[in-house]
């Protein structure tokens, strides 16, 4: 049973420098060969100041920028070995480019327990991470739903 008193709790903030090479590497893995993700020159030729973050680049902010994320989840009583990624949603508030320095704060915005079909209990957690850039501008809201069986 998930401890409802943890709802509203934020984890310590983290900082992440958006790397050109990381955007290149992620899109190489996805198989997106659009040159704007692989070369600063191509990005600039297309009118961008530098390599832009591709739609799912924010996943690198979380995993590389916040290596303590798993520890924070454990601290609120989540069995991290039993997590299933249920949903992911991004709200893009301003463009993000290589070289930007982002600060992220993750908050547990919802948590509830449900009976699954086989009668066992599962917890459904919603986490929201808000990212601000080096100019203090809010650039991204990332929401994820994690199912803990």
């Amino acid at each position: 049973m998930f401890d409802q008193s943890k709802i509203g709790q934020s984890f310590p903030s983290f900082t992440y420098q958006v790397e050109r090479c990381k955007i290149h590497e992620l899109n190489l893995a996805i198989g997106d060969e659009n040159p704007i993700y692989h070369s600063k020159e191509a990005a600039q030729a297309a009118g961008y100041p530098d390599v832009p973050a591709s739609p799912t680049t924010p996943t690198t902010f979380q995993f590389w920028g916040n290596p303590d994320f798993v520890k924070h989840l454990m601290a609120i009583g989540v069995n991290v070995m039993r997590i299933i990624h249920g949903e992911e949603e991004y709200e893009y508030l301003a463009p993000i480019y290589a070289g930007d320095v982002l600060t992220g704060v993750t908050t547990l915005v919802d948590g509830k327990s449900r009976q699954s079909k086989d009668g066992s209990s599962m917890d459904i957690l919603t986490l929201e991470t808000r990212y601000t850039n080096q100019k203090g501008q809010e650039v991204l809201k990332a929401r994820q739903v994690l199912i803990v069986r």
Binding site: A29, I30, G31, I84, E91, P95
Partner: protein, 151 residues
């Protein structure tokens, strides 16, 4: 993978109509090497995605792809359609596991056109299915497009 690299096409609000289909994106079969690459790139090193022994142990029969890789395919679909900085919202729900050799096809439909906060927006639904038609992920997006003569 296609070898033909392309810049995103400039798409105007007036060019898009409710009911339009987004050009389909058919990805190459998912490979083990791709999942290893994706783990390193994303930083998600959960061995469920890279170590076949863990998959066997958990009784899910081998390794499964990162859900975020499938969302990445859908991101490519949208990036090809409107470019990366036009997106305002993009969300998916993960429906089933993707395995090695699965061939993922991404598609989408425009469901709405409206103006909000001084921006001309399109909204649509998207999904990723495998070679058997099983839905892996589905969701929605919103993008802001330029208007003709508006620049």
């Amino acid at each position: 993978m296609t070898t033909e690299a392309k810049l995103p096409t400039k798409r105007y609000f007036e060019d898009v109509q409710v009911g339009d289909e987004i050009p389909q994106l058919v990805k190459a079969p998912v490979t083990h090497l791709q999942l290893v690459r994706y783990a390193g790139a994303s930083g998600d090193f959960n061995p469920l995605h890279t170590d076949p022994k863990i998959g066997e142990m958990l009784g899910i029969g081998g390794i499964i792809a990162h859900g975020m890789l499938i969302m990445g395919f859908l991101g490519q679909l949208l990036s090809d359609y409107v470019g990366p900085t036009a997106l305002r919202k993009f969300g998916v729900r993960f429906k089933s596991m993707t395995r090695l050799d699965d061939v993922i096809t991404c598609s989408g439909t425009i469901t709405e056109k409206y103006e909000a906060d001084g921006e001309a927006c399109i909204a649509g639904k998207i999904q990723a299915v495998d070679q058997n038609g099983d839905v892996k992920a589905s969701g929605t997006f919103v993008a802001a497009l330029p208007k003709r003569g508006g620049e």
